[in-house]
Symmetry: C2
Subunit: 406 residues, 2 copies
């Protein structure tokens, strides 16, 4: 009998009615002859409600105590789901992170999983029980409760699936799979029956919100097949696997976009290397992350240096950059916080060198100006004006024949 | 440095404002040079809210899963109190039952404490931390979460105080101490500066709601001094100790009353012994508890047998009694669910034989009819009409000079 791990997010367990629905879903899988372990988030809204209480007491609450507080959310949802399953005649047992030995480091609020002990879960499964585990939480080496950060339940599910050598880790969410692009941006978006781990990772880091990058990374590392499914609509969802799909027709699998970008450009900088390292160090000190980054070759002792930050960090980042302009006699410091990143992602790009050319040509032909470009092995990202976002996604989606993908 | 354990009930931590108030209370004790361990209930209303959710899914929810669910309530209150203390510059650490090794049996919903490991708490106290522990909950030998039943946090506090050899276990509640009688019934009620464990136990089992009997029993057994204090009003409260207070003037320390009584009398029963054992066995089978119980000596082969049950059980108990009337040719089966129990309690009664006589005389002189009497070493209880409740309490309170106690 194969073990299937099913993860249900906050929306999927957001009310008693939805919990009953999840119970039915689990029973269906159980009736198909599988052993089922369900991993749950807190009921939607609960984590925010608890955080609000904490913040009212202290705008910057103790990280350890915040984790103690937040971990109560999953405890409620797992107990309620177990009660619903038992009511339907299925034996179920809910377990907290410490009860399954979900060991993490002690970085409260953003802990990393170190180890999962499969003993208790296997014992319960062998007795025929459905096992319901609290996602998002762990314990450090001293037995303190930790949490994995927002979206951490996905990672919990993958770690548990890996520990149990599950057949598949199914992530139930409010969309029915991974799409060629965001259907709200392009109605021609189509559900992909499968994507590779690498594509999924690039998509997650380029704006696709369906899965948390860390969980995909974790699954890829441990070769645990993932499947994204809807909690509400029947279907096969999207399978995320290692199988390399040689698809000559579709070198690009998906077009993603990420809105919250802001561009900062320093033009005509003397001592480019020093400027760059000093600026990046200062930004890192205040936890500002850089996304895209380009630098022109030195010309007459001067360089142009451009990068993007999250839009929320724009003002602070500009301020820091400005503070260096005199020292490095920067000719011009330019910023734009109305820019977005559009990316084309696909395993097929590896063997299809012409994708970049086609992409630029297509954007140029449609009068879409490109500020920055960054490229990885299976991804090309361009920074464009926010006003061009929808048009850029739609024309690239069509250009790479994703409108007609099966 | 002495350890003081302070227990705060649901009302005391019922809102963020009250949690801040509790933080101040704890800091005051800490500043007096004590090591403080606080034991909390869930925020008032929370246990009911969670129970309602469970009952909507299953009117008779799994006992194990209900405990998993309910234990989340204390997790919230301890984390919030810790956050409030840390905000004020005091290092505090919240701990769940499993983190302090609060071992119980596995009778879910009504577990009994078997052992408390003091190691983690002592370690935290030695590091100067204020320790905030979740009351009401425990873990069984398999690591499952258990709860101790309503009011169990009092017992948690006493068990923790005992494990830490605390100087005192302080129970903060919404009244400022133990009174000679319920002030809502008699405005002359006075706060007792001290009562003995035995008196407190008899009071708890006779209607005084200030402390849960089990916690008093536990404290008495382990010789842990208790103190009942108000969370809202400053004061010394009432100390519950072993010191025998020889008070010749006041053989009675308190008058209590318990409203929810119902009387059942079977008169003229043949084979009294058999009838009694059969009836009590049948009642026990459906979990109906007997409170007072009397039986007349056999006369012409017949006996009269009377007992009281909780008013909620009256109809069912009468029905069971009726089912035996033919077999045992009972002359008359009589019931009254408008009766109440009034009790006089006091260590002084041991050495003062006349209390019973005075009590009956006083009730008789005031035309209060007594249906049943039961007496223990330091308590006499009488069953009277509900309509006589207030008058009976007031005249006995006056009779035994409790109006003028210091």
């Amino acid at each position: 009998m194969a073990v299937i791990v099913q993860k249900f997010g906050g929306t999927s367990v957001g009310s008693l009615e939805r919990i009953e629905h999840v119970a039915q879903q689990i029973i269906k899988t159980k009736q198909q002859g599988h052993q089922v372990v369900a991993v749950l988030s807190a009921m939607s809204g609960e984590t925010n409600r608890l955080t609000d209480l904490a913040v009212k007491l202290d705008p910057n609450p103790s990280a350890r105590e915040l984790d103690m507080l937040l971990a109560s959310g999953e405890q409620v949802s797992i107990a309620l789901l177990s009660i619903a399953l038992i009511k339907r005649g299925y034996s179920a047992v809910s377990l907290l992170a410490h009860q399954i030995g979900m060991q993490t480091d002690n970085r409260f609020n953003k802990a990393r999983i170190l180890n999962v002990d499969n003993q208790r879960m296997l014992q319960e499964l062998q007795q025929g029980h459905i096992v319901i585990v609290a996602g998002f939480q762990g314990v450090d080496s001293e037995g303190n409760i930790t949490t994995l950060g927002r979206g951490g339940s996905d990672t919990s599910a993958v770690a548990i699936a890996t520990a149990l050598q599950a057949k598949e880790c199914q992530i139930f969410t409010d969309v029915d799979g991974v799409y060629t692009t965001d259907p709200r941006i392009d109605e021609n978006a189509r559900k992909l029956p499968y994507v590779s781990f690498e594509e999924m990772l690039e998509m997650a880091s380029s704006g696709a919100k369906v899965l948390q990058s860390r969980s995909v990374e974790f699954a890829g590392k441990h070769k645990m097949p993932l499947r994204v499914l809807s909690s509400f609509i029947e279907g096969e969802g999207t399978s995320i696997t290692f199988e390399q799909q040689a698809d000559k027709k579709h070198p690009v699998s998906a077009i993603t976009s990420h809105k919250d970008e802001a561009l900062i450009s320093a033009n005509g900088v003397i001592h480019g290397e020093k400027f760059r390292s000093k600026l990046l160090t200062l930004l890192a000190k205040v936890d500002i992350e850089i996304d895209m980054l380009t630098q022109t070759a030195e010309h007459v002792n001067k360089i142009n240096f451009s990068f993007t930050v999250h839009r929320n960090d724009y003002v602070q980042a500009m301020c820091i950059a400005k503070s260096l302009t005199t020292e490095f006699s920067v000719d011009e410091l330019f910023g734009n916080n109305k820019v977005v990143k559009v990316s084309a992602i696909g395993n097929g790009m590896r063997s299809h060198a012409g994708v970049a050319a086609e992409l630029f040509e297509c954007l140029f032909a449609n009068n879409i100006n490109v500020f920055l470009v960054s490229a990885a092995e299976i991804k090309i990202s361009v920074l464009v004006k926010e006003a061009d976002l929808i048009r850029a996604v739609q024309i690239l989606h069509k250009k790479f024949q994703l409108n007609t993908i099966i």
